[in-house]
């Protein structure tokens, strides 16, 4: 605020230091908001990978499905109540879809000796969902109506909109709830145990089949929930899942494959790195930053920031 008012009055013809500082803070803040959305999608991807060793290329398309479910729900219930309700409905809806996809598509392939089948299946699913969505919902992009009509607010040195702040809040809540679920509940501990060592978990009497379903459902539900927030902040169209999927893979590699804490930090790091890189290096290479990070991480710390030594 201080910096802005000075330059606005024209006391300093050039951008002063405080203004530069507020620009930096604003960009970091923008990055955190976008990063929180990346997190939601990346956590599901990394969970599913950690537990089931499935690299699900269709993961972002579950977000797309969530966004469309929300869009149809909001037609029924309008206003901010509809918006919050649509998140829950989308999470449940995509969770159910995830259950069936896991049970009838991925599960039969898990016993095969190669991962290629699973990768091909997930790529096929990605193509099917994207084109199916175009057929069913049409190619025209749509927006979830903002109950706060894009009103902007100023917070100390940065400005943002009410809806973005709420999206940030809800994604942080979802991440916290997931953490509580994974650390405080028996089922959560079982998921982590399976992720750490499948055979040991089996010997401890954990029902692996159930854990697979649960992980896939929770991961998909998170993606669906993230999709609603993504669709609210940006727009909804059949191909909207492609970019988040790529970003989520970058985050997963950055944080360590299968590591949930890594995905959370990775998401925020990528979000901030993109905005700062875009601002200070070059806008043209904003999207490339994620992929440069992948290459650097794979070269220098192949197990990711939080990966540790992985046992195969």
């Amino acid at each position: 605020m201080r910096g802005k008012s000075l330059s606005r009055r024209g006391i300093y013809p050039f951008r002063d230091e405080e203004s530069m500082e507020s620009l930096f803070l604003q960009q970091v803040f923008n990055g955190l908001i976008v990063g929180s959305l990346y997190c939601l999608i990346a956590i599901g991807l990394t969970m599913i990978f950690g537990v089931m060793r499935i690299a699900n290329f269709a993961h972002g398309d579950f977000s797309m499905l969530g966004a469309y479910i929300a869009l149809y729900f909001i037609v029924l219930v309008s206003g901010w109540f509809g918006w919050i309700g649509s998140m829950i409905v989308a999470a449940i809806g995509v969770g159910i879809i995830g259950f069936f996809v896991e049970r009838f598509l991925f599960r039969p392939l898990l016993t095969r000796w190669t991962d290629i089948d699973i990768i091909m299946l997930s790529i096929g699913l990605f193509i099917l969902l994207e084109n199916g969505a175009r057929l069913v919902f049409g190619p025209t992009p749509k927006m979830i109506p903002d109950p706060f009509s894009h009103k902007s607010i100023d917070l100390f040195l940065v400005s943002t909109s009410v809806i973005r702040l709420l999206c940030f809040f809800f994604s942080c809540v979802a991440i916290l709830l997931l953490q509580l679920f994974l650390t405080k509940t028996k089922m959560g501990v079982a998921i982590r145990a399976t992720s750490q060592n499948r055979n040991a978990a089996l010997l401890m009497g954990i029902n692996i089949g159930f854990i697979y379903s649960l992980t896939f459902v929770v991961g998909s539900a998170l993606a669906g929930f993230g999709g609603v927030l993504y669709g609210t902040t940006f727009a909804i169209f059949p191909t909207m899942g492609a970019m988040p999927t790529l970003k989520a893979f970058a985050i997963t590699i950055l944080g360590g494959m299968g590591n949930i804490r890594g995905a959370i930090f990775g998401g925020f790091i990528l979000g901030v790195a993109e905005t700062l890189g875009g601002n200070y290096i070059s806008m043209q290479y904003k999207n490339a930053i994620g992929f440069v990070i992948i290459i650097l991480v794979l070269l220098i710390i192949p197990h990711g920031l939080f990966g540790g030594k992985q046992k195969s």
């Binding site: 084109n131 909109s161 993504y230 940006f234 727009a235 191909t239 970019m243 993109e274 806008m283 904003k286």
Partner: protein, 406 residues
Amino acid sequence: MSEKIFRIVLGMVVCISLFIYGGRVNAADPIPIGILGPFTGSIAFNAEEMKKGMMLAVDEIDAKGGIFGRKIELIFGDTEAKPDKGVAAVKKLITRDKVLVVGGGYASSVNIATSEVCQNERIPIVVAIAISPTITNRGFDYVFRTSPNSPQFLTGINDWLLKVKKPKTVAFLMENTDYGRDGEKIWSAQAKKIGAKELAHLYFEIGDADFTTQITKLKELKPDVTFNIASTTEASLIQKQAKELNFVTQWIGVGGQFTEAYFKMSGALCQYAMGSSLEPTLAMKNPLVADFVKRYEAKYQKARPGIFSSQGYDNIMVLMDAMKRTGKLTGDLQKDRDAIKEALRKTSIELTQGKIEFDKNGQVYTVFPSVVQVQMVDGTPQLFIIYPPERASATYKTPLPWDQRK
């Protein structure tokens, strides 16, 4: 063993019969016309608008007995708005579907590549939507374009900037494609002419959703005018995020963003946005255009014809007109294509965008877009021509701060 032989024989029979079937041309068969466009991908809905205009043209021609008694068949080649996919699609249209001519096209980068293929294969291509000057300035004699190129598109706006707006500072926010970079080149030259300071040249990629980084930077620089060279989705996301970050500027786009979907998505957010346009609904005084709008709305319920519907319609009409003027089709593909190319050169036809005549490069030079601004009428955004004065239907309004807008 015998089963294996049987399978091989069966496979060969199927292949050969396909060849025989594919190679036969019947006098009563429909005339195949290749149409390129990004029918899937992030700008598919705009291609859909073009397709609607084209199908209306085909219906009208077929209703009048077709061309030389034959119906028209449009064969669509999907470019996905990517040059490599476009080249594959146009090659398929030429070699496998053996189309007589190629029309459609959308996105400059794609058309630069596909038109070169057509030139090499000696097949006439008439580009419907794409404004990069490169498409028609390479001396290719098989390449035509029914859309104005970017200098033609921006003449009006440049005039307005020089004589009316006189901005002191400008900034650029554009697609990292030929569409974006060509617009940037023209406006950058104009800014130098006006003496406006260019504060920033910011790019984004097609399919980007988050523009807060760019808008934050722009907000810091406070340009009087921000040139926003984007398509529908990106343009409306930019409007939305500008409000969220409380950034006010005079947005000026090329005009390709003003589609039905754009107004649906951005609603009141796009108030004051400007661009060049050939919107048919703005030229209703012209009976020819008014009639087109009426027929379009009759064919597609609840749809409003946009610039792309009109450009698609005109594209097909120009092709059909040239084909008709060749007199007859000989059946020899290359001869017919050359005859159509020559006929296209002599095109002079009044259509929905205006009169269509090609210069020696195959570029239409008789279509003049107007400068438009989005203004609110009873809470709904509508386009108004604000320049040149003789065509204007409203006066220019300076963008107000967000909290003073209704």
